[in-house]
């Protein structure tokens, strides 16, 4: 782990120009596809397409480590939400180190739960239910996650402080049952950084294209979003998805695949 020049370059380099007509056509096509998917899901239960659904949809039967265990809070699943909250404190200058920031965030959980604050989330309640040793384990995992991100970027290079750990949602205007989530851990004026874990996988470009798609759908007019950069701290490996028409197409196809893989018989329902 180190201040990664390649990663910084990927976040600050300007995106390449794209033919506006091609971009508009790809965006219209993606919107049309999503509208069709929303209509097909009429009467179904609400479906949220996230990077997890895309990853699952792309997974082949022969992939190893296929676990469909129900979600549960553990130090591993909690490290990102606590970690991004800690990095947010560091960016704001409210903490001097990842350890201090994580401790502050965990203490906040305790206060919110004890005070009955409406800010207390399921995660806060789980953290507060742990013994001190359990909380230390959760904190240790979050400190490692936050330190890797904090030390990998030269935060002083951003003209405007980046937004840390804010997921963006797009709700279909055609159906209240369909929503897409774009997860990014750091958002700058020109790029969206996604911290990746697990092995390199064939689905990763589609996972990142979903972020491009969500950003594009949220923008007004034909504005283009920034580049999406996937980064594995384990290896330092980067994947860049440029805001190009092909990314919109890939993102929309990923959503279609995710919804199809969720049990809705797309063709028969159409």
């Amino acid at each position: 782990m180190h201040m990664d020049n390649r990663l910084m370059d990927a976040l600050v380099e300007p995106v390449s120009a794209v033919d506006p007509a091609s971009w508009r056509a790809a965006l219209d096509e993606a919107k049309s596809k999503l509208a069709g998917l929303a209509v097909r899901r009429a009467g179904a239960t609400r479906f949220r397409v996230t990077d997890h659904e895309v990853r699952t949809a792309f997974r082949s039967d022969t992939d190893d480590a296929v676990h469909d265990d129900p979600f549960a809070w553990t130090a591993l699943t909690a490290r990102r939400p606590i970690g991004v909250a800690a990095v947010r404190l560091l960016v704001a200058g409210a903490a001097r180190s990842p350890l201090e920031a994580v401790r502050s965030r965990l203490a906040e959980s305790g206060r919110w739960v004890r005070d009955g604050s409406s800010s207390a989330s399921q995660l806060d309640r789980w953290v507060e239910s742990l013994s001190p040793a359990g909380r230390a384990a959760v904190g240790a995992e979050a400190v490692t996650w936050a330190t890797r991100l904090w030390c990998a970027l030269d935060w002083s290079m951003f003209a405007v402080p980046p937004v840390v750990g804010r997921d963006h949602w797009w709700d279909s205007p055609h159906s209240a049952l369909l929503a897409l989530r774009g997860r990014a851990d750091v958002r700058t004026a020109d790029a969206h950084l996604v911290v990746l874990s697990g092995p390199r996988r064939g689905s990763v470009r589609a996972e990142l294209a979903l972020v491009t798609l969500v950003e594009s759908l949220r923008l007004r007019g034909d504005d283009r979003p920034g580049r999406v950069v996937g980064w594995w701290p384990d290896s330092g490996h980067l994947v860049r998805v440029e805001p190009e028409p092909a990314a919109l197409t890939l993102g929309a196809e990923a959503v279609e695949l995710a919804i199809g893989g969720a049990g809705t018989p797309l063709r028969s329902a159409a």
Binding site: H2, L76, R96, A133, V143
Partner: protein, 309 residues
């Protein structure tokens, strides 16, 4: 105990004689800090050269296994096992393990002795993390089990809790010894040291068909481009010391491949005895371990199981 070779920085306490009141944690800290002005600068081409060496060896394995074979995950357990001095692939080399200590089921097939060692190792590891981040342990067994439960390692928790009362008492006593030694050994890091535990490294070779992986027990220091500025601390709960030391060299190689520079200094803490050692990372350590892995891969490509995925 010869970790400090080739240039001893500190003589360790005699086996079994290191206790919490000896202030060894402060000594470890002083040794890790060293002389900040003398941090080594490694050849910027070193990482590229090491990678090229390993990529060449990996190519033969990928060619032998077939391009569509599933990724081969290789960690220190496969590559550095003292029982596999020939370096060739054993019967479980394809399955690999991903260095995930929460994968409690991965060792269920082992004999009782090995299972006990793995159980103890995981419990000690949990206490080590707690000491690094909080500086204190109250009830070693209870704390370790609570920590493992929070990390989702239910298999290890169940294994410990299902032990007969007598065996559990022995485990608690053994763990208390490790905890006492660690309390003396583990430095109290100021927040500015950026101490982080369980820092996983995974380096893909052959287009991701082979993954060299491992996990630093503890990394400290602020990263600086082109200068080796990190220290890595390894924990050994049951030895052998030489293998634990080699694992640190292996992890230093992976860090070199990941970031371009290795840690500049390593410390190995032995929780059973309270011994420790500190050494600088040198290019010859990295070359030696890269040579070992390349030789292992060459043998693997020629081995009888190379075509199996």
């Amino acid at each position: 105990m010869v970790l400090v070779a080739p240039r001893p920085l500190f003589r360790p306490a005699p086996p079994g004689d290191a206790t919490a009141d000896r202030g060894t944690g402060a000594e470890v800290l002083a040794l890790l800090r060293g002389d900040a002005a003398a941090r080594p600068r490694f050849d910027p081409g070193l990482a590229g050269g090491l990678r090229a060496w390993l990529e060449d060896a990996a190519y033969d394995v990928v060619a032998a296994r077939g391009e569509h074979a599933p990724p081969l995950f290789l960690g220190p357990r496969q590559l550095l096992s003292p029982h596999d001095e020939q370096g060739g692939p054993g019967h479980d080399w394809v399955a690999g393990d991903r260095g995930d200590r929460s994968a409690g089921a991965a060792t269920d097939h082992r004999g009782d002795g090995a299972t006990d060692r793995v159980l103890l190792s995981r419990l000690v590891q949990a206490l080590f993390r707690q000491l690094v981040h909080t500086g204190e342990v109250h009830d070693p067994l209870a704390d370790a089990l609570e920590a493992l439960r929070a990390t989702g390692d239910e298999a290890t928790v169940r294994r410990a809790e299902s032990l007969p009362e007598g065996a559990r008492a022995v485990l608690a006593e053994t763990l208390a010894v490790h905890a006492r030694n660690l309390s003396g050994l583990v430095p109290r890091f100021a927040p500015g040291w950026m101490a982080r535990t369980n820092d996983r490294v995974a380096i893909p070779l052959g287009g991701g068909r082979i993954v060299l992986h491992g996990m630093f027990d503890l990394v400290v220091g602020l990263p600086q481009p082109r200068t080796a500025s990190l220290c890595a601390v390894g924990l050994s709960s049951d030895g052998p010391w030489a293998v634990a030391r080699r694992s640190l060299h292996y992890l230093s190689l992976l860090e070199t491949l990941r970031s371009g520079t290795p840690p500049f200094r390593l410390a190995l803490l032995e929780s059973a005895s309270g011994r420790y050692g500190v050494e600088d990372v040198r290019e010859e350590h990295l070359r030696a371990i890269a040579s070992h892995i390349a030789a292992w891969l060459e043998r693997a490509s020629a081995g009888p199981t190379n075509a199996h995925g």
